[in-house]
């Protein structure tokens, strides 16, 4: 009995490790397949445009709401802390920097993983369950080229654009709440924002969102293609797509922060901070 109780967790850990390695392997093979097909040229316009519309245009309302609330929440949160240090005029820097480099890309990607990723996984999963993916193969077409490549391109192109919209709306709503409701000086708000938020921060945020777009598209399409049978399988694919995308977004965000920050301080070792910079 004692032997059993020891081996069971070890066995469970082994199974978990094995399924993790399998999952990563399948995802890598799927991603490799997409990149190989990208060399074969762009998808046809009549295939790509409806997908761009679905992923881009129809996500704008969600992104506007997300961006607006992130900006206002940041203003509310930072105001009390900065006011105690008599640094509320620097709120423009912290809100803009946080939005552009961190929260904008991460939260926009999270919202899009839910809205776009889950929908793609469910749509492709339903196509798999109803044999439409097999039908594409049977009619001489390549399902990855026809279904996945346009979705991948749409995510990679549009998620950074949607992130930029979320950032812009967030910056505007943060300014509106800080200056109109909380009474922060508008001129100083923008002055500090301009002083501390550099092109590098904007580039870093957009780089993140491009990679988040890649991750969301690959995970969602792979989950759809690997979907199990029936309505339960489709539901599970949609849920798994969101959960895995969210984990991927957080993991990628951490890795990119490490890489980008290291690179930044290698290039500009004398960079100043928001708290101490610009004094006098």
């Amino acid at each position: 009995m004692a032997g059993l109780s020891i081996t069971r967790p070890i066995s469970a850990l082994g199974q978990l490790t094995s399924s993790f390695v399998n999952g990563v392997g399948e995802l890598t093979l799927f991603a490799t397949g997409i990149f190989k097909r990208l060399r074969g040229g762009m998808p046809r316009r009549h295939v790509l445009i409806p997908i761009l519309h679905e992923i881009g245009v129809r996500s704008v309302p969600v992104i506007l709401v997300t961006g607006a609330f992130i900006g206002m929440v940041l203003a509310v949160q930072t105001y009390q802390q900065f006011k105690l240090m008599h640094m509320e005029t620097r709120m423009g820097a912290i809100i803009t920097m946080t939005l552009v480099a961190e929260l904008g890309p991460v939260l926009a990607a999270t919202m899009l993983a839910g809205r776009v990723g889950s929908a793609m996984a469910a749509e492709l999963g339903t196509m798999r369950v109803t044999e439409q993916i097999h039908a594409i193969t049977a009619l001489g077409a390549d399902p990855v080229r026809y279904l996945v490549v346009p979705r991948f391109l749409a995510c990679v192109i549009l998620i950074p654009m949607l992130t930029a919209i979320a950032d812009a709306i967030g910056i505007f709503s943060g300014w509106l709440f800080s200056c109109v409701v909380l009474g922060v000086n508008s001129f100083q708000y923008w002055q500090f924002a301009e002083q501390f938020v550099t092109g590098w921060d904007v580039m870093a945020g957009l780089t993140k969102s491009v990679l988040f777009g890649c991750g969301i598209a690959i995970i969602a399409c792979q989950q759809g293609f690997q979907c199990g049978a029936g309505a339960e399988g489709v539901g599970r694919a949609a849920t798994q797509s969101f959960v895995l995308s969210f984990i991927a977004i957080l993991g990628l965000d951490f890795l990119l922060n490490v890489v980008l920050n290291t690179t930044y301080y290698m290039i500009w070792p004398q960079a100043v901070s928001i708290a101490t910079g610009g004094l006098g």
Binding site: T130, E131, H134, A135, A138, L139, G140, A141
Partner: protein
């Protein structure tokens, strides 16, 4: 038992096995299908008949064994050759598998467009021709699959498969879920496709009336899990009348006595 003879069979399976996880669905299956014949594959649920057809179409890769299309080993073909040869094969899916985001026209035109056809007039003529061939009005082409009945969806599926002019047609449970009138209509279409085009037909079905109406040859599969390792998974291979006269208890259990007279009459 008979094994149809032809110099170059349209399909040839040699020692085909298909294993999912630990489950042996197909094990060491040999089957040869001559050009021009109509073969109906029957057997109880889970015996691997649909998997066999999907392996023949290469929608599912076999775990081991050799598959030949028109005498050529599929395993030794390059992907482009597989694609080109697959255009000689048509497949009618059980649920029709129409693309629900496309119109009926776009569904039927799908294969043509992906085969590189760019002449829109020719595409339109072909689509209307195939819809008419399966007994549908050309006006239906503007509708979506969700706007037509199950029987009509099956016929659109057949029109889509025929649009590329295949040499071999696979029919996966073509009459399942259809009323007797639509079932007969689909069986008649299978027969007329064979008569008018000389297409080789491979049909998977549970419906023994389809066997009566269209089969030149019947192949019966048996679930691998219920057999000894030495036994073949193909438990019957012969004409419909030989099926009716078979004394094999497994065959008799499947066809039942009431259908025997119908098969003998066929």
């Amino acid at each position: 038992m008979t094994q149809s003879s032809s110099i170059v069979p349209a399909m040839k399976l040699s020692g085909i096995s298909c294993v999912f996880g630990t489950q042996k669905v197909l094990w060491d299956v040999d089957l040869s299908i001559a050009s021009g014949e109509t073969v109906v594959i029957v057997g109880e649920s889970g015996c691997g008949k649909s998997v066999t057809m999907k392996v023949m179409m290469q929608l599912i890769p076999q775990t081991s064994g050799e598959l030949k299309w028109f005498g050529q080993d599929v395993g030794s073909m390059k992907p482009k050759q597989v694609l080109a040869n697959r255009l000689r094969l048509g497949y009618l899916f059980q649920g029709a598998a129409l693309f629900d985001s496309l119109t009926i026209f776009e569904n039927v035109a799908f294969g043509l467009r992906h085969a590189g056809e760019t002449d829109e007039d020719l595409i339109e003529q072909t689509v209307i021709g195939r819809l008419t061939e399966v007994g549908l009005s050309a006006d239906i082409r503007f509708k979506r699959p969700s706007e037509i009945s199950g029987g009509m969806q099956k016929r659109v599926g057949l029109a889509r498969a025929l649009a590329l002019g295949p040499d071999v047609m696979f029919y996966d449970e073509p009459t399942t879920g259809l009323d007797p009138v639509n079932s007969r209509r689909i069986d008649d279409l299978i027969d007329s496709v064979r008569q008018s085009r000389g297409v080789t037909g491979i049909i998977v079905t549970h419906d023994l009336r389809t066997v009566q109406r269209v089969a030149d040859r019947v192949v019966m599969f048996y679930p691998r899990a219920k057999l000894d390792d030495s036994e073949s998974q193909v438990i019957f291979d012969g004409s419909p009348s030989e099926l009716a006269e078979s004394n094999d208890p497994k065959v008799r259990e499947y066809i039942g006595d009431e259908l025997t007279s119908g098969l003998l009459a066929a």
